[in-house]
Symmetry: C2
Subunit: 383 residues, 2 copies
């Protein structure tokens, strides 16, 4: 529980059935810090929130699944205004104190009337203990709700709770999909904006499911208003990093259709940027990802992706280690036991190290395997 | 039939069963022009051929499937030398007059002894009419052989025949996989190198299956030696473009697991480079490609890919037309009949136009859908 934060979730009817509307409410207002998608096409909630943020503390965030409210023109923003106006009356706050987030199908108008009809009910459900219901209400193809809670120490004991959703259109260069973090630690966005960006870069920007950057990606951090507690600042930053890292790992493990989480570590690079480009190239390679699915130690596909990463490499120096087993050294195969490797790969987690043996810089990223279920989920997602 | 060119194909045992070794022989020698992969990791045949090409006319090219002979170190090149030495004795030519090409699994040594044992037999099979056997012998996951023959007119009537293979690790920025073109038109590589590059750029570099650039991609053009026929030059260039275009379309239609070929046309861009980046980004989007498989007119995923192409766009101007039906205009949905669209999309070929309405430049590319069979083929390709 985070002091002053209440949650609720209801089935409003956006999806037809199931939870699809979540609300977080902060009676006394909270500071907001937000990171939004770098996709040039941005959802209405991002355009809307940006005009509000920075003015003053906010008091609520309403989140819907089932409709992305992206590519909906001016109407998409007007729909949020109408909903905001209604909700402000019910909660007794200003419209400008309410933020939004959406996830779901792109290009469809938000069913504003449906949502407005559900506002009295969702407001009555608000409770400090309902964070899991909130987490469930924002799920789309996710198979489990994603909540992380931690405590840390300053002058007082503080709480931090994070909520996230996946599971497709997940690409690492962007604050991925929806994540919300709430803390009763009093700190202003200005004080922690660098720490927040850093934590996002080291967590959500280090995972990918399908290399697809969403129009709706948003990470929102809500912090308590009031006098800052400098004694707790370091512990808060650690807790923030920890919560984002754990949430992002939940997202990658629940990637659409994924059966394994794969940790790609590229080391021995002259520059970190080169290691990053190679790691990202491997992490979106469909041939590599299908091989992980099939427990096929196909290091040839990995080295082909390395060579296709648009950075200079010396093929004759590359070493590839999978699950602790050296598969290739000096760019050529090292004999290994195929049956044994298949067993080693048949795990929920796979680790791949690509050592370029050219320098000392490294970069790592988490990805998923590519499976039949990814195709199944996405071949007819809309209908 | 192309005068002076003989073909053969045999089951040498590289794959265990089926045709896996092809030979083309030119008694009187031919000029060679070749385009090789831009992947930084290159197969042994590319390293080997590069040392030979340009010296003099060549007399044979030996092509194997089932083993890529890539990432095989110095041994990979030495294996080709050993095979070349044997074949030169059998054909009565110099070792330096024989080129190679390979396709298959990366990282495994070429079974040189197996291939050498098959050389007497394959040499006996050589015939001007055996081009389809040659085409079959270089197939891997291809479902049909890819041969295109045309004639054109200069002082005489000339012939051109092209052979290609797909079907995975196909990415457009590179001379994709293996293609061979033979013509009895006498022209030197110098005369037509620009035309050859241009024809490749407009054909094989305009298709993708999975965004994966192979270590082995090679297009080899064999032309007759002797006095050039200037009267036929324009017709030859047209025929060359036509043959490469037709072969590349065969490759995309036979992409691994593909059920549809999708023509992505991006127009209305200020710069051609921007149109190209957007077209290529859409063409490798797994969410877009799974939607094509499911006949889902999910234009939202297309516009999300447009926004993720790393070029500035004005989302509010974008128009998306699929199979002649406008799905979105001014960046927002235009009402359409879902059932009707599903029917329109349930075809072997789909056309998508993305009009940015910002300028006059355009770029187009062909891609495939992403299906269960792509996963099936690649989850355990090696084993």
């Amino acid at each position: 529980m985070v002091g002053g934060v209440e949650f609720a979730g209801v089935a409003s009817g956006i999806k037809g059935k199931g939870l699809d509307l979540g609300l977080a409410f902060f009676k006394e207002g909270m500071h907001i810090s937000a990171l939004y998608t770098r996709n040039r096409v941005k959802a209405a909630h991002i355009l809307y929130n940006r005009k509000i943020e920075g003015n003053s503390p906010v008091k609520a965030v309403l989140v819907n699944s089932g409709c992305a409210n992206a590519c909906t023109g001016k109407e998409g923003v007007l729909d949020l205004k109408a909903i905001g106006k209604n909700l402000s009356g019910i909660l007794g706050v200003e419209r400008e104190e309410i933020l939004f987030a959406s996830t779901g199908v792109i290009g469809k108008r938000l069913p504003a009337d449906t949502i407005i009809r559900a506002l009295p009910a969702i407001s009555k459900e608000l409770k400090g203990t309902q964070v899991e219901t909130f987490a469930r209400s924002i799920m789309t193809t996710d198979t489990f709700p994603k909540v992380v809670q931690e405590t840390f120490q300053g002058k007082n004991t503080y709480n931090i709770v994070g909520v996230a959703k996946g599971a497709g259109m997940i690409n690492p260069l962007f604050a991925t999909m929806l994540a919300f973090v709430f803390t009763d630690f009093p700190v202003s966005p200005e004080t922690i904006s660098r720490a927040f960006r850093h934590a996002a870069r080291e967590s959500f920007e280090r995972i990918t499911v399908d290399g697809e950057c969403s129009t709706n990606d948003s990470i929102m951090l809500f912090t308590k208003t009031g006098d800052e507690d400098p004694d707790g600042l370091a512990a808060f930053k650690d807790a923030l990093s920890s919560v984002l890292k754990k949430l992002s790992m939940m997202v990658v493990k629940d990637g659409e259709g994924a059966t394994r989480a794969v940790h790609i570590i590229v080391k021995g690079a002259k520059k970190k940027e080169a290691a990053e480009k190679i790691a990202r190239r491997i992490s979106i390679s469909p041939l590599t990802k299908t091989a992980f699915f099939g427990c096929d130690p196909n290091w040839g596909r990995i080295i082909a992706a390395v060579g296709d990463a648009d950075v200079p490499v010396q093929p004759g120096k590359i070493e590839i280690i999978m699950q602790g087993q050296v598969l290739a050294r000096d760019g050529a195969e090292v004999p290994f036991d195929e049956g044994e490797m298949k067993k080693l790969m048949n795990k929920k987690e796979i680790e791949v190290i690509v050592d370029l043996h050219e320098g000392k810089m490294s970069f790592d990223i988490f990805t998923t395997d590519l499976t039949y279920d990814y195709i199944k989920i996405n071949a007819s997602y809309r209908t």
